[in-house]
Symmetry: C2
Subunit: 301 residues, 2 copies
């Protein structure tokens, strides 16, 4: 049984990854950036990656009969914003990682200034993509999507999460569970919630469905973050493509540190169950979306 869903998921994930990477490469190759800046942007975006965020958008969009000619826009925008965040996370003043997906991080391959400017260029271009004329949804919806996207990334979202995470590192005391969850939700959850929401939103999902999708996305965020922490503890450096045991080195707050490994693994099972139950509320064929939960729980990279 497990074999079967693995096959279905892996095949769809691979198909979507190949499609989105082709689209990303095409759109980035066409930009009117100075050549070496374009090179930084292409390196940062086409440096591997599972493309899980675009995959989620595509799967949710498909539930609402939205095709790739439309969903590719939020897919590309979110992936560029994600790559921007990876560039920044890896910088010496942040997590100081020389490797990303087994290759030199952007600031190592180029330099810090180029990494910063390339990253910010990806972020601004993500907005161009959402505001693109070719993205054929109503203008009103485009504006709404830009707002939700900005909220997921900015001072209430991912950037706030990274800010709080670095702040927590400096403290000798572990954060409370409540504080910890707040950091994780901002850092990882809101972007995944955006993916789920965006897929439904461009497919004219009902308000109730959008709420369910958003909450489901937040749950995926928790699952993603917990497996990230477990991989840092128990993962294989080669498969991961980055150093393990960084969390301890950097005094990063993780659920494992606050509550122990057994508790953490239990939480993972609990959240997976909750996320699967959440999907049932949509009353649609959410098989593939539920496979994503299993995939995230069992990932090795």
């Amino acid at each position: 049984m497990r074999e079967k869903y693995n096959n279905i998921l892996n095949s769809r994930l691979a198909q979507n990854k190949s499609y989105i990477e082709k689209e990303l490469k095409k759109i980035l190759s066409d930009i009117a950036a100075p050549k070496p800046l374009k090179e930084v942007m292409l390196y940062a975006v086409l440096n591997g990656g599972k493309r899980i965020r675009p995959f989620i958008i595509s799967e949710v969009s498909s539930l609402y009969q939205v095709g790739p000619s439309i969903y590719k826009y939020p897919c590309m925008a979110i992936e560029m914003a994600h790559c921007f965040s990876l560039i920044y996370d890896d910088l010496p003043c942040m997590d100081d990682d020389d490797l990303r997906r087994g290759k030199p991080s952007v600031h190592v391959k180029f330099d810090e200034a180029n990494a910063l400017l390339g990253g910010a260029s990806l972020l601004t271009y993500a907005y161009n993509i959402l505001a693109s004329k070719n993205f054929s949804i109503e203008d009103k919806k485009k504006i709404a999507l830009i707002n939700i996207f900005s909220n997921a990334i900015g001072h209430k979202g991912m950037l706030a999460g990274q800010f709080l995470d670095l702040e927590a590192e400096k403290l000798s005391k572990k954060p409370t569970i409540k504080k910890f969850n707040n950091i994780q939700e901002k850092k990882t959850g809101l972007l995944l919630a955006f993916c789920c929401y965006a897929g439904g939103f461009i497919g004219n999902a009902s308000k109730k469905e959008l709420e369910v999708l958003y909450e489901f996305g937040l749950m995926l965020g928790r699952i993603f973050q917990i497996t990230d922490d477990i991989l840092d503890k128990e993962g294989n450096q080669k498969l991961l493509g980055k150093k393990v045991n960084k969390d301890d080195e950097q005094n990063k707050a993780t659920l494992i540190k606050i509550k122990g490994l057994d508790f953490t693994k239990n939480e993972l099972s609990k959240f997976s169950e909750q996320a699967k139950n959440k999907l049932l509320l949509l009353k649609k064929d959410t098989k593939v979306l539920s496979y994503i939960i299993d995939y995230l729980c069992s990932r090795t990279s």
Copy 2:
């Protein structure tokens, strides 16, 4: 005569500065960011500044009978993007400036990571402001404005300009005039062109007028950059609020270095004349806009 236009300009500039700073303070104080992140953002934005970009938007908007309840949105967005760029420019890996407007730069006051995250949060919030429901222009126009804004900032605009500028620093050879002008236009011109264009655009200016405004903005950019270079050479460190002679220290390409100080001052007069002639094409009362040219030429900070 000079006294009189100085008075008119200074009074309007001061009035607009006070209005925009009040609005910026209000909108930033209300954001749901973690308190210390909000502090970084407020410090970066309310750290003085002439607010020349919002002033240009307000003056052009007024030509087309657009009031502050509308023009304040692009004004705030452009000022946040500008402050984002100043944070980045000052970083050790870029221009490495410890002082900005006579006060510690953001990365000195806080730290590099906080400066980066605060800067990026200002940039993402600028998009929220342009996509705000309260910004009462047509959705179609909002989308168009977001695109032009993104182009002015991103890989074709300001970020590209900074990228090329840093690249030129590394070379022993001075860039050609053509290359130099291209860098300056991207680095400074496109943002000022956005300001002029945006004011006309929200005021339903004709296509022809928008072209004139855009070109006028590019000319202001040249004037601005030339006076910046002259101030670095001949300016007063106290009035400037930052170190002088940085261009030489950093091997920055300036028109002065390529063509000498006399030629540069001549160019300034030539561009001022051209910019004033450009304004005449609008066939409107562009007195204050032409005062801006004189103001930029004679500024001491």
